[in-house]
Structure formats: structure tokens, C-alpha cells
Symmetry: C2
Subunit: 795 residues, 2 copies
């Protein structure tokens, strides 16, 4: 049981809270006189005051009490700061517990160090006002709102001893991703996972509006969270001393409930339905304990407390006086000793060592990372007698590999997907593990439902929640892969952006952060195979979004066949510090490269396939290049057509697996040297490039290359309906016939001789489209993904 704090302890808790609030105010305003040892003067005020006071006191209050809980129970507890611009509160606590100074020795535990913290906050070249990789103890990029809960749950999975306290802002709570992520609790298995304690902070106001949840009735609020499956515990008020007691009691009770749920599950009898996890609704005034009024307006408990509660104290004496009165009200002289260090009596209130929230090892997950045991990929590859002579579904093979990855790493690998794991042909993983399911199960589920409380396949129809879980899981040092329909990867564009930005800053600016496992995204059910889903399911533009992020943290792979996908996956699962984006179809495709060839090809990232082209030594007449499994198949078929039509035509066939080989070395570490690029693509010959995505992406990657003016890129150009795969290819010009016709147009010596061939190719293309329309399916020749055997006549 958690003890009830004595009056003396409440006083100490209060003092600790005041010290942290003092630091928050100091970070906003002061560039000198950090401990107010002298009267506050205008020139001690920052030139530009940037930061957010409103959310701070509720968070510092919570952190103060979480510290107490940790100390009493020796807890392994992380904190996720959801409210916007909440960093000051977290920094204040990290500074008070000493860990900030360990990470940033110039911000030492004395007056000078405190001043440096103040000066650095929200100042150019300094630290931002929301949580970022710079903030010790955080795994949460707090700039965009909505992901705090899903991050917290991701951290808690497979960490049975961990409790993640997740502060959810009432502004953030209005977002879609956050609203969906409350359901995450239904995926926590108390037998093997840690616990998340959500704390909804009803701060009352956003930037300029009341928050919705602060303005609905108490009954509705309670009903809402009971409906989400929680037992809400309300801590409401504005009287600090009463609130300290309420919060201590509430946290103690929540911890007891968590422990009881876990004890039941871990005692053997996992009551896996009807678990009601506790949560806290903390209702306090926005900008609590800050200035009550200014300029005739309420500040505390108003949206005016959101950012800077007192405007312009450097030039307004009344604001300066109000600021000084406010800050002195926190009694800095009692909180800090003569050196400027927190007084010893208060220092005891923080946990020590790794138990400090700011120093929790899970929040620097790279430290805890254990590389995956990866089974040798060769066992899953397809034997290939002749290139393309055999078919395999790339994702089906991947599923078999992931099954064994999962078996070999039962404590640190999970697969994520929105209800599409089987649809995406990854179902072999169910042989290793079911789908995580803690809600009600029916007898009928035994028939193919694959539901299990112990499942490691995470399925919920929310890409946001899945991505958030995976981010939280990898940021705490574990491994995973999210498979999603390609078109709907755009649902998480902004989450990808924020995670990539986190990795970028962590890598380049935060040396104490150890690299975390890569976040792996598999885009499947690709644009080219949306036979009945149609236009809405056709969008390969996630790659354009991904290509905008820092080259050091993003990788894009388009393996041409199942064997290459396996190699790419193996590489990605072993990598750290990236977002790996892999594009691979789920339908059967020819396998071109034997296992060892696939290894070489994927390691190079790009290469000429001599067996596919017509020449090995001499300069070709044309380069046919491709990236992506469907475009590769069509490009190979185009080569076959051309070979049959023009026996003397010299074709070089180039396949690109790693998209960033195309950009100059100076732009991306995977970029080919100009020499190597020119050797592959020639200096002046036409390059017909068949691409999986929007053609413009290839142009933006290659425009600096010498032969770029001769690049003719075919790709998705936003044309589609309910089409057979072949008709869709024709509509967008990536089909074999259109490619071959383009070659005729680009190779000067075929300009005259090619006229008849062109007519023939057009006729055959039309014939195939007519077949598709009449029959509702592509012809057998097309459907098999085969190109005419070498030497066969082309007509």
C-alpha cells in the first residue's frame, strides 16, 4: 500500500513542486538573476519570451507525485508528456533530480548552471518548448499532438516490470489518433506486458479555446472512459494542499489496482477479459499557481495562461512586478541553497539513479537494445533454375521468415498491421503466434481466428495506433515491422515525419542516445494490384514523403522478387536508427535471382542484369531500368518483345532495389558515384525507366546526373479505375507494350524501321485490353507474369 502523506511530507512535496514551477517560470523569462537574489530588473528578462506556462504546473505536480510513488515502491516508471509544449515541466524535473546536469554538465546544479538552463530554453540554438530527443527521459516527440498514449503502450508491451505514466493533454485528446489510442488498453496482457497509467490532464483550455472534454458533464466524462474500458479516478481542484493528498491517494490506489490485475494474471489465471485498468482524470486550472489576473483579464484558469502569462516585463513595470511577485511566491530562497542547488531535504524526494524518471533506461532504448536473432535467410529463399522460371508471393515468403524471427525472439519482436496480416499474405506468422486479443473471445474464434492473449501480431484498424505502438516499441529498444496497404500509408505520413525527425536529431545532436532499432514499414497491396479496390487504393506517394526526410535516417527499398525481399528484410531487421520503407507486392511474381545473386544485388542496391539484357560488353542502344516488382516484370517482358522484334538491338537492363543509389553520393550515403552511375546509365543513351511510384520521384532523385536529360520515366500517373492489373499498367504506361513502343521512339536507328513493330505492339496491347474487358481477367500470358521465352517470335 502507498502511504498517506503526513502534513510534513505534503509540505515537502509542495516545496518540491514550487521549485519545479519556479524553474518553469525562469525558463520562460529570465536571462539573468536566476535565483532572484537581486530585485528583478528589466535587463534580466529575455529579449524574446517564448514558451508555454499553461501546461507546466499540472505536469510538475504529477511528476512530483510520481517521484513519491517510485520511491515508495521502487518502481521502474517512465513518463510520457503528451500536452503540447510541455517540455519545461519535464526539464525542470530532470534538472531537479540531477540527471539533466549529468547529461549536460554546463547546466550544473548551481546558480550558473540554472542560468544556463534558463537561457537555453526556447532560445535560438537552444532547446525547444516541447519534448524532443534532447530531453532526458523522453521517448516522445511532442511537437505534433496525438501520439502520447500509443507511444506509452508501445513502451509497455513486453516490459512486464515497467509502468508508463502517460500524461494526455485535453487538447491532444481531441485528435483522432489519441481518441483511437484509448483502446490500446485492450491489447495489454498483464501477464507479460507492463502497465500504462493514463493521466488525462483537464487543463481546461487549448491555445485559445476551452477544451471539449473540460466542458462536458462529469457523468459523460466518467461514462466515456468507462466505455473505453478504464476505471477513471478523478483528482480535481485548485487548493494545493488538498490536491497533494488527493493525488497521492489516487496514485496509490491506481498502483494497487495495476498490481492486483498483474498479480491475477501472473498467478496463472489470466483473467483476460473485463480488465479495467485504472486511469486518472486530473482537473486543475490552466497555469495553476501562476498570475491570477493581468491587464484586467483572468490569466490563471484561462486560455491566456497558455503561453506567456505576463507580457513584456522588460518594458512594462507592472508586468515586471507581477512576474517578480509570482516567482518569489515559489520561495526560491527556501528551495535552493546558497550555491543554487536544491536543498538536501527536497533532493530526497527524487528517486535516485536509474529510478529517476529522467534517467529511466527504457527512455534511451538503444541502451537496452538486443539485436534480433535472425535465422539464416537462405532457408526461405526460392530456388531459381532459370530467372523468372518460378513464381513466389514475396510477402508470403516474408511471412515464413517473420514467423521464425518471431519464434527466435519471443520477447522482443512484434508484427503490426491493420487487420490485413492474412490479406497481405503474411499469415505464416500465425504459426508462431496469434493475434494479441484481450477482449471477449467466442467459441467460434477457435475456427481460424488466431486470437490469443499471448499473441505477438498486433492488429487494430488504426494505422495511427499501430504506428504509435511500433514507435514506442522501437524507441524502447525492441523490434518490429508494420505492414500496411500502400495507399493508406499516407494515413501516417505525419507520424513518419515526426519519427524521422526524432531519429535525425537523436543521431546528429544527442550523443548520449544509443541508436534504437529501425522502424520497418512494409508497403504492400500495392498500387498496381487493386483489381477491385480501384482508384482510392492507388497511391504510391508515401515514397515522396519519405524521400523528403534526412538522408541519414531514411531508406527505401523496392525488391524485385521474393528472394530480394527476404534479403532486404534481413538487412532492415538488423539495422538501427532508420525508417526502412520496403515496397513489395503480395501477389505471386516470378523469382529472378537465386539466393546468392539476390544477396549481391541487394547489397549493391542497383545493378545490370546481364541475363536480361542483350549485351555485356559494349555500349547499349538503350537502357531499360526498373524499380519495383510489377514494373520489373513488365520491363523484362518489354525486353523480350524487343529482342524478338530486333535481334540486333543492344539493351542494358538495370534493376534498382535501393532507391537512394540514384542520388549523388553527396546527397545520400547510398548514392552511386557519378562514375558508377554513368557506367550503368551511359552518358547519352536513352534510359526507359519503369518505376513503381509517381514518375516525378525518379526525376527528382536523378536530375543532377549527367544523362538525366535522356531519362524517360514511366510510373503511376493517377489513372485508374476498377481495372485488371494489365489494364491498369496500360492506363499508366508501365506495361510491356508501351515500354517497347517508347524504346522504338527513343532509339534513333529504330525511328524508321520501327513503324511496323510499333503498329504490331499497339495492336497486341489493345487486344490484351479487350480481352481483359471482355473476360474480366487478364489473359493467361499476362496473368502468369511471364514474358515470351527468349527467342520466341514476338508476334
Amino acid at each position: 500500500m502507498t502511504s498517506v502523506p503526513s502534513s510534513a511530507e505534503v509540505d515537502r512535496l509542495h516545496a518540491y513542486w514550487q521549485a519545479s514551477n519556479y524553474l518553469c517560470a525562469g525558463m520562460l523569462y529570465l536571462r539573468d538573476n536566476p535565483l532572484l537574489r537581486r530585485p528583478l530588473a528589466p535587463d534580466q528578462i529575455k529579449r524574446r519570451i517564448l514558451g508555454h506556462w499553461g501546461t507546466c504546473p499540472g505536469q510538475t505536480f504529477t511528476l512530483t507525485h510520481l517521484n513519491r510513488l517510485i520511491r515508495e515502491h521502487d518502481l521502474d516508471l517512465m513518463y510520457v508528456c503528451g500536452p503540447g509544449h510541455g517540455a519545461a515541466a519535464v526539464l525542470a524535473h530532470a534538472y531537479l533530480d540531477g540527471h539533466y546536469s549529468e547529461r549536460y554538465p554546463d547546466c550544473s546544479q548551481d546558480e550558473a548552471g540554472m542560468l544556463r538552463l534558463f537561457q537555453r530554453f526556447s532560445a535560438p540554438g537552444g532547446i525547444g518548448s516541447h519534448c524532443s530527443p534532447h530531453v532526458p527521459g523522453s521517448i516522445h516527440e511532442g511537437g505534433e499532438l496525438g501520439y502520447s498514449l500509443s507511444h506509452a503502450f508501445g513502451a509497455a508491451f513486453d516490459n512486464p516490470a515497467l509502468i508508463v505514466a502517460a500524461m494526455v493533454g485535453d487538447g491532444e485528446a481531441e485528435t483522432g489518433p489519441l481518441a483511437a489510442s484509448w483502446q490500446s488498453a485492450r491489447f495489454v496482457n498483464p501477464g507479460r506486458d507492463g502497465a500504462v497509467l493514463p493521466i488525462l490532464h483537464l487543463n481546461g483550455y487549448k491555445i485559445a479555446n476551452p477544451s471539449l472534454l473540460a466542458r462536458i458533464s462529469h457523468a459523460e466524462l466518467r461514462a466515456l472512459f468507462e466505455g473505453y474500458g478504464y476505471r477513471p479516478c478523478f483528482v480535481e481542484g485548485d487548493d494545493p494542499l488538498a490536491m497533494h493528498r488527493k493525488m497521492a491517494r489516487a496514485l496509490g490506489q491506481c498502483l494497487a489496482e495495476i498490481r492486483a490485475i498483474q498479480a491475477r494474471a501472473r498467478g496463472g489465471g489470466c483473467a483476460n477479459t473485463h480488465i479495467r485498468w485504472p486511469m486518472i482524470v486530473l482537473r486543475t486550472p490552466k497555469g495553476w499557481t501562476g498570475p491570477r489576473h493581468f491587464d484586467g483579464h483572468a490569466v490563471e484558469n484561462s486560455w491566456r495562461a497558455h503561453q506567456v502569462p505576463l507580457p513584456d516585463p522588460a518594458s512594462r513595470p507592472d508586468a515586471l512586478r507581477a512576474l517578480e511577485t509570482w516567482m518569489r511566491g515559489y520561495r526560491p530562497e527556501a528551495c535552493f541553497d546558497t550555491a543554487g542547488r536544491l536543498v538536501a531535504d527536497l533532493r530526497q524526494l527524487a528517486p535516485s539513479g536509474d529510478r529517476r524518471i529522467s534517467a529511466n533506461p527504457h527512455a534511451n532504448g538503444g541502451l537496452l537494445r538486443r539485436a534480433l536473432e535472425l535465422p539464416p535467410v537462405a532457408a526461405y529463399t526460392q530456388a531459381v533454375a532459370t530467372p523468372g522460371g518460378v513464381d513466389a508471393s514475396p510477402t508470403q515468403r516474408l511471412g515464413e521468415y517473420l514467423r521464425d524471427v518471431m519464434r527466435a525472439n519471443p520477447d522482443r519482436f512484434r508484427l503490426f498491421g491493420p487487420d490485413e496480416t492474412a490479406s497481405n499474405r503474411l499469415a505464416a506468422v500465425y504459426e508462431a503466434s496469434g493475434k494479441t486479443w484481450m477482449a471477449q473471445r467466442l467459441d467460434s474464434d477457435a475456427d481460424g481466428g488466431n486470437l490469443s492473449p499471448d499473441g505477438r501480431v498486433m492488429e487494430i484498424l488504426s494505422e495511427h495506433t499501430l504506428q504509435g505502438w511500433l514507435e514506442g516499441y522501437t524507441l524502447t529498444g525492441r523490434h518490429g515491422l508494420l505492414a500496411t496497404y500502400e495507399a493508406f500509408a499516407h494515413v501516417i505520413d505525419s507520424m513518419f515525419n515526426q519519427h524521422a525527425k526524432w531519429l535525425d536529431k537523436a543521431r546528429h545532436q544527442v550523443p548520449w542516445r544509443a541508436p534504437v532499432p529501425a522502424l520497418n514499414l512494409l508497403l504492400t497491396s500495392v498500387v498496381w494490384r487493386q483489381d477491385h479496390n480501384g482508384f482510392s487504393h492507388q497511391d504510391p506517394g508515401f515514397l515522396d514523403v519519405a524521400a523528403n526526410k534526412h538522408p541519414d535516417v531514411v531508406r527505401i527499398y523496392l525488391p524485385p522478387d521474393a528472394n530480394c525481399l527476404l534479403r532486404v528484410a534481413e538487412h532492415c531487421l538488423a539495422s538501427t536508427g532508420y525508417v526502412n520503407v520496403i515496397v513489395a507486392d503480395k501477389q505471386p511474381h516470378p523469382v529472378y535471382l537465386a539466393a546468392d545473386e539476390a544477396t549481391r544485388h541487394c547489397e549493391a542496391g542497383i545493378g545490370a542484369w546481364d541475363w536480361a539484357g542483350t549485351h555485356t560488353e559494349h555500349e547499349p542502344d538503350v537502357v531499360i531500368a526498373c524499380a519495383g516488382d510489377v514494373p520489373t516484370g513488365e520491363a523484362l517482358a518489354a525486353v523480350a518483345l524487343l529482342k524478338a522484334l530486333f535481334s540486333g538491338l543492344k539493351i542494358r537492363f538495370v534493376n534498382v532495389v535501393d532507391l537512394f543509389t540514384l542520388v549523388p553520393q553527396a546527397v545520400h550515403p547510398h548514392g552511386l558515384s557519378d562514375e558508377a552511375f554513368d557506367r550503368l546509365f551511359t552518358l547519352d543513351k536513352p534510359v526507359i525507366f519503369n518505376f513503381h511510384g509517381y514518375p516525378a520521384l525518379i526525376h527528382r532523385l536523378c536530375y543532377r546526373r549527367r544523362n538525366h536529360g535522356n531519362f524517360h520515366v514511366h510510373g503511376y500517373r493517377e489513372q485508374g479505375d476498377v481495372n485488371t492489373p494489365f489494364e491498369l499498367a496500360v492506363l499508366n504506361g508501365i506495361d510491356r507494350y508501351t515500354l517497347a513502343i517508347d524504346v522504338l521512339a527513343r532509339v534513333p536507328r529504330l525511328h524508321t524501321s520501327g513503324a511496323a513493330a510499333r503498329a504490331q505492339l499497339l495492336a497486341r496491347r489493345d487486344q490484351q485490353v479487350a480481352h481483359a474487358r471482355a473476360e474480366g481477367i487478364d489473359s493467361e500470358e499476362i496473368r502468369n507474369g511471364r514474358w515470351p521465352a527468349p527467342g520466341a517470335r514476338g508476334d
Copy 2:
């Protein structure tokens, strides 16, 4: 009051439902023998069976009963189909009520027409399995899930007589956007708005999993929706006759509640808090009335009913028999007459004319569109004596304009934004209208809260909900603008994609759809002014996403100053059938163009600013081009620096407002002719292009242009922290000094003479950065956005 259906009426309702289920099954399977007048034979089965049965019967059931409600009360009622792949149900009803045949006369009300409908469904070149613009009565692109409720609410705003029945799939209900959008009911003013009746369809299963909401307790389900502010009404069961009675009763009761809420509000005393709108929870078996078992597995009430419930009847006699038995169970011979038309007795069950759900005029919103009354923009423009001699905040001016647009169009214009209307400096609109707020209000809100039940400014911290509302509002013929932080526009990337796809198909393939008002997106709080928000708030990549969509439906504008923004906004608010993306900062910027110049410049979309360059007639040494307000300011400053350093240097200054002027005419209707492009950008001179977004976008737009090899684009390159605006510009190379230095490097005759100038420019750049670091703000010269006056010395 809605009547209780008699037994005879229940029988008729049931027969109508059976007829619609019959059509759904026929659409999935049949390519001949549509009325089963002959025994079912293998060659009558489609070659490829694509479609989704599972969701259909619950929807056809609901539509059958909505028809009854409409008839009894002469309702103006729309239907939004949220469940994935639900089109077959909607098509069946549109066909039965006769409207489908009016739109598509070849699908006539007879056997041949029915067969055509069957053949077309989910077949190449045909219609898809989810709702799209082709489906009469729909405003909802159903390919991506999550937006049904927000679309429904958008349709209901300002349509006081309208009821929008929104069927929410229990899969869809797991998504973030849908979860957030339940809160929309708190923004409906029953005095002036229509009503939304959400119907959560607890169908039980998704593609391969149970749905979460179907597996939580009844108490939790009720609590959840009471928490969201609704009064849930449960209709649960699988016995058709009992269910008909329950559904009729439930709908009658819900309508009575809606009318009571509206009557109270419209009687004068708007009880604007504690409104509890009714909703229905409909729990029926997935694939209800379909095959119960097959192959030893349950089909009905299982995820196996999701798509095709009986596999491969063309080759499996048992499946063929089961299919025939199933379909004959719907008694087609009793439902359809000898011609193949629905029998007269059942035809009466559908409403007639515009009251048919499929023909509701709001669902073809372009028909109801009334152009906005737009005040003359000249009244809002800034007088300009010398270019750049005066400052204005672009969005502040826009706010003044929008205020008066709102006043002039009190029934059909709304402004949408996530709690940032004031932060984005559009606060003048509050002079015309408050923020829509139906939840609790406090006395303290009177002090600047701007909350009002009658407000027309829609603020909720969910970009998804806002975008969904705006889509629903414009698709039903009304007008609006959504202003959002640029970086967080990525939150709605996928919604933008789907809406653009809707507009594309509607324009090119659905002639009976009248053009709807454009959807206007204002991206503000731009990447370049994130002084304290830092890296997470820096992302101009929404433009890359937008540029991937069909050129006929997307426009991108980067007005360089307040006057140009006003002109662009005026144009956009009058346009139809587009998504207009406008990028404009909220901070004060110099105004360069007087009102009439701004008009000419914006109409052209691109142009040389002779006053800014050094020459008018002759071929320049260099072209300095720019797009976006911040880059334009820096580019002008660079010109001033260069003029001062090299009096003989000939500079052409080009500003781009309309980004698609850059692409060839063949690619986008706004594209400049090659001749015009070459005249502006020369054939061979260096072009230093200062761009608002990621530089690659300019390259992908211009790579086909003749002088592209000489384009050197500066833009955001993913470098940033907490920086002053100038330091951020330097980090990314869009600042005046870096631009001027680049000119020195690119103009051959400056290669030697420029060395000293280069050193000088570098020194000044470093000096400015040092100032920013030391002071926390940019120097006054930089801060004012000014460039040295023409003729002033540059050092």
C-alpha cells in the same frame, strides 16, 4: 409519431430487403441468368468474383427502414455509407428505387438492365465495391475508412431540414479519425443545422478479425456513446421479423427525439448544452441471411462472410448449389415481375423523386451550389507607394476579407481551423461570427472566448474532423476554408488524396455530378517562422503530396505578399472542382505589389518584376526566381546586395505565385508555354530559385524545361532547430547572403571578380547569425524583412 408496422407491412419490408439482398448477391456472382429463371449453371458465374457481401445485409436492412421513415414523414434524408466496400448495398437500393436507371439508362428496370448492373459491379471498366462519385446519392468516397461521420456532419451544418443517416462500420470505428469525429455532435446547433443520425453497425468482424466494439460489454458500449454525448438506442438480433419491428420502432423514436431537440431550439429557447442526440447501435450477424456454413466453416456471423461467402461456384458444384439455394431464398420470382422490374407492391416502399435517398439533391451538391457573394477585394488591399515600403501580415488581411465574406454569406460559408484561428492571425472573422460552441459555457468565456452556438468558425483540435466537415460541407454545395499549420497539413494527407480522387472521377467520369465548390486549404504558420516550435514544426512537404494528384483538380498558390494573398483567396473562393492549396505566412511581410499589380501578377501566376531586377530589355546574366513570401523577401534582399556590389550585373527577378505555371502546358492547364517559359528563364543563363518548400519539387516540375540544367534551387533541406527566422534561412541556404554567393558562383564573369564580394557576404552572414545567437532575435535590418534601399552600398 412513426407508426408501428403491421404484420403485412413487415412482410412487405422484408420482401423489399430480400430483393435488395438478392441484388447484392447477384452483383457479386452472376454474369447471366440474373433472375434465376433457369437453373444456375457454372457459365453464368463471373470469371472473377470480387466484392464484399458481409456488410451488405445490415445496410440494405437499414436503407429499407430509412425509406419507410422518409415516406411516413416526407423527410429530406441523406445516407452516408461508412463500412468498407459497402457500395453493393447502396447500389441495390438506388437500382430498386429507379434512380440508378435514370442516371445509367442501360441499367434499366428490367432483366437486361439488372444483368448489366450485375456485370458491371466490381468488373474491369465497371463500378467499384465501395462508394465513389459514380454512386448516386453518395457524397462519401468509401475506399479509405474513417470519415463517414465527419462527412455526415459537414453535410448537416446549415441544412436545417436535412437528416443525415450515417452508417458507421465497426471496423471503421477503430480508426482515429472516426473515433474523434463522434464529438462532432457537440458542434451541431439544432436551431440552424440539420441532424446526423449515426448508426453504428456492429457487424462483428472486419476482414479477418472481430471488431473491437463488437467484443466489449454492453455496459461499456452504452457508456462509451453516452460519454460521447449520445443516447444510444440498441437494435440487436438476427430474427428478421423481430428485427424489422425493432428497427422501425428505433428509427421512429430517434426521429421523434431529433424533432424534439430541434423544436426546443427553434422555438426560441435553444437549450444549447446537454443535448443528447440519438444514435442507433445495430448489432446483426455479418453476412446476415447469407450462407450459414460452407466447407465445414461458419460463414454467416463470421469474418468468412466479409468478402465472397461461397468460393468458386463456377468449378465447385457444391458451391454452385449453395449459391442457388441462397439466392432463391430471397424469392426473386416474388420480388420482380415478368419484365424483371420490382413488383408494384414493393415499389411503393421507396420514396419518390428527390425524396429517394439515391436522388437526394444534397448528395449532388453542385446542383445546390450558390456562388459566394464576394466583397470587392480592393477594399482590403494595402496601398503601396514603393514596392516593399510597407508591411502587412498576409493572413491578417485575409482575416478581414473572410470576415466580410462571412457577413455576406451567413448561410453558406464557414471557416475551419484547429484552435489556431487567432494564432494564425485570422481573428478578424470573430467580428462577424464567433466559434461554434454547443458545450458548456462559463461566465468567464465572455472575456475574449468568442464562443457562440451561432458561430461559424469551426475549431476543434482535430485536423481530421475539420477536413471531414469541410469535405462534407463543400460536397453538399457550400463553401469554406481550412487554415492549418503547414507542417501538420500532413495529418490530412490521405484525406486530401481521397478528396482529390473524388473530384477527379466526378469531373472526368460522372457528367451528372455538378461541380462543387472548391475545398480551400490555407497552410500558414509556415516552415520558415517556427522560432520556438523548432524542427517538428518544419515541414513544407504537403505541396509534394498535392502535386501528385490529377492536374485538373489541384492548384497550388504561393502569394508573395498580403495583396496577392487577397487576390488568390478571392479567386479560390469563387472556384469549383478543385482543391486549392494556398501557402501564406502570418507574420508581417513587406507588400510589394499594389492592388492592380497584384491582380495582374496573380492572374498570370508568374512574372518578372522589372522594378526588382536590373534590366527590362536585354538578356540577363542571371535569373533570380522565387516562390513564397519568406523566400521572396530574401531573394529581393539578395538582389539588393548584388546591385550594390556589382553595378553592371544584369538580373532578372521572377516571382511565381501559381506553382503549376512551371510545368509544361501539356502536363497542367496552368503550365506556361515553352516559349513563355524560355522568355522568362532564358535558354542558358543560371537560374537561382528560392523556394518555399523542398527544392526537389521545383526540379520535378521543371525538369522537362529547356534551361532546367541551369536551375539551382534553394529551399528547405530538413535543417532546423529552435532558430531565429534568419538563422533558419541560413541553415537551409535560402537567405540573402547565400543566394548572392550562389549567384557569384554561377555567373561566369564573376568567378574571379567575385572572390572579395563572396568573403564580404559570408562575413556579413556570419555576423547576422552571431547576432541572432547572442541576442535571441534577428537584427533589426533582418527582422524588418527589408532589403537595403536601392542604391545603398552593400557593405
